[in-house]
């Protein structure tokens, strides 16, 4: 399939990426709007020598991923918002036991059962913890089918590199949308991949070595704190090295839009129209939601240029909190968002942008 362009949905592209990345274990439980991904994994694992399990619950699925990862293979599960809530216990254990894993959340609207329409309202849950304890996930937010493919492959590498869970955070639009996909040759060089997938800590049977233990329980005074500090040290390295973002007409922007995932695509359309109207609008699109791309915001806070900032989300304002922290109160930060299945249109963004510019020039 290499070098061929195919038309594929975001859900299936993530599944194919997992296969290309060498994922040999997938467990999942049906939930809309990510079912195509589960079905795709059933098909592809059957074609190869991988393992596919339709679990009895999302809780069981994430714990199967824990087990497969503990046994040393690349493992993935996927779900959508209510199912991801159920997985939080397992994600905390995976983080605590320092296991690599990839978890896909194709977000739908909540709270509760909500509905199956797209949403970005799990940002807090993904980036601030979700489960119990002081842990982090690397959260990757693709905005196209191609990027969903590429970043899922990268996600497996990051999970192994830092021995921590990685979440691919998409929304129902991205999961369902079909776009051309160029199959790129797999992620890392084979030598690097070999390094990443060599896991001397994995459970393989203790032949020729002392026993390995996969655990997150530290009862002796001071031991848990020591383990937690090691995690924190690792998180600092991730924050320093792994920030990703896209800039779009940012340098001369008078109005800086901030959006991620599907919302960023709509924002780009709005920016083109605004530019045609002579308004210097630009975009920062965070690709890593954790670590939050502080570096690009630091560029803004260091400049003396007058700017306004508009955060656009499919939520009632979650990422905006990180934007405000990153901007250190140096800019006026406005918000546009809908949740519950509604998505702000290009026209909504243009209208809001024009209102901000008008108010500022009065």
């Amino acid at each position: 399939m290499k070098n061929n362009k195919i038309l594929i949905s975001g859900n299936e592209a993530i599944g194919e990426a997992a296969i290309q990345a060498g994922c040999t274990f997938y467990a999942g439980y049906p939930i809309t709007p990510q079912n195509e991904l589960t079905a795709y994994m059933a098909l592809r694992m059957q074609q190869g020598n991988g393992t596919f399990i339709q679990a009895e619950s999302e809780i069981s699925a994430i714990n199967m991923v824990y087990g497969a990862s503990a046994a040393g293979v690349r493992a993935m599960t996927s779900s959508s918002s209510p199912g991801i809530s159920l997985k939080q216990e397992g994600i905390s254990y995976i983080a605590g036991a320092r296991l690599p894993a990839v978890i896909v959340n194709i977000m739908r609207a909540g709270p509760g059962l909500g509905n199956i329409w797209p949403s970005q309202s799990d940002y807090f849950q993904a980036t601030k913890g979700g489960g119990h304890g002081d842990y982090r996930l690397i959260v990757l937010a693709p905005s196209s089918v191609q990027e969903a493919f590429d970043i899922t492959i990268k996600g497996f590498d990051l999970a192994d590199k830092y021995r921590m869970p990685v979440m691919i955070l998409g929304d129902g639009i991205l999961g369902q949308m079909m776009e051309p996909l160029q199959f790129s040759v797999a992620s890392s060089q084979s030598s690097e991949k070999e390094k990443l997938t060599t896991k001397p800590w994995a459970l393989t049977g203790c032949k020729g070595r002392s026993p390995n233990i996969v655990k997150s329980f530290y009862m002796i005074e001071g031991d848990l704190e020591k383990s937690n500090l090691e995690l924190q040290k690792q998180y600092k390295i991730v924050q320093a090295k792994e920030q990703l973002w896209e800039e779009f007409y940012l340098d001369d922007a008078r109005l800086v839009l901030i959006a991620y995932g599907t919302m960023a695509r709509i924002a780009k359309g709005a920016i083109k129209t605004l530019r045609e109207k002579g308004i210097k609008a630009g975009l920062i699109r965070p690709i890593t939601l954790w670590p939050f791309p502080q570096k690009v915001f630091s560029k803004l806070t260091k400049s003396t240029k007058k700017r306004d900032v508009l955060v656009i989300e499919m939520s009632y304002g979650q990422m905006i909190e990180d934007v405000k922290l990153a901007l250190e109160c140096k800019y006026n930060v406005e918000f546009l968002g809908r949740s519950g299945g509604g998505v702000s249109s290009e026209e909504d963004i243009i209208k809001k942008s024009l209102a901000i510019i008008k108010r500022k020039s009065e």
Partner: protein, 242 residues
């Protein structure tokens, strides 16, 4: 002279944290000896529960994983599926296997996972301070059933072994007890068979072990054994269930 009783090689020579008269020490030894006798130490991967036996891996000398409370059989399922040549078992208590993990238990069994399950039934939650378990007997006093388990409000002891025996995926279930040396010898044979089944690809095999918890039964170590013999086995009859 033939030495017939000794510490198994895979049971580390360290003090355990268990209370005096607790059955976990014996049950750990039964697992270790079965593994030694079958010569599978280097292939074994154990899954420890949440409960009193959470640090069982400190006493066994082979690869182990913890699992979240109740999730041992989900974790073990995945380990076995990706490492078919390894011998994978879970060691779980009654709270873990029959309350919070009932779903994982039933479905791993129903899928017929080729796993070995060592199920410790002491009719109580030990680690958290003696609360009612699904297996607590009617009338048994616990921290949460002060006047004794009342079926009107708390239902009846859950017989998961009999329930699982109904499933096509389950190949072997036996209930044994630790209340006398003779019963321990029978328990040893059952534990060994449950591992042998996995080696031979037979399928899901579980041994339910009735095990004393003198601390939360409020009995001496000796009286706890007598209570199993005289009371507990009436609710949980011993022998091969499937």
């Amino acid at each position: 002279m033939n030495k017939i009783f000794f510490r198994p090689e895979t049971l580390r020579d360290v003090p355990t944290h268990y209370c005096a008269g607790c059955g976990h020490g014996i049950a750990h030894r039964l697992v270790a000896r079965a593994i030694d006798e079958l010569g599978i130490r280097e292939k074994v991967i154990g899954v420890a529960p949440v409960g009193c036996a959470v640090i069982a891996y400190n006493y066994w000398d082979f690869d182990c994983s913890e699992a979240a409370h109740g999730r041992a059989l989900a974790v073990a399922t995945a380990i076995k599926r990706v490492r078919k040549d390894n011998i994978v078992f879970t060691y779980q208590g009654d709270g873990d296997l029959t309350a919070i993990g009932t779903n994982e238990t039933i479905h791993a069994a129903n899928r017929g996972e080729n796993l070995t399950v060592i199920f410790i039934n002491n009719a109580i939650y030990g680690m958290t301070g003696g609360q009612m378990a699904p297996t607590t007997l009617v009338g048994q006093k616990t921290a949460t059933t002060l006047k004794g388990r009342n079926p009107e409000f708390e239902g009846y002891p859950l017989k998961i072994s009999e329930m699982l025996a109904q499933l096509n995926g389950v190949k072997y279930i036996e209930r044994v007890s630790l209340h006398s040396p003779l019963e321990v010898i029978k328990a040893q044979a059952a534990v060994k068979l449950a591992f042998e089944n996995q080696i031979n690809g037979v399928g899901f095999s579980m041994v339910e072990i009735l095990s004393p918890c003198p601390t939360y039964w409020g009995l001496s170590a000796k009286d706890a054994l007598a209570w199993i013999k005289e009371v507990m086995v009436k609710e949980f009859p011993l022998g091969k269930i499937k």
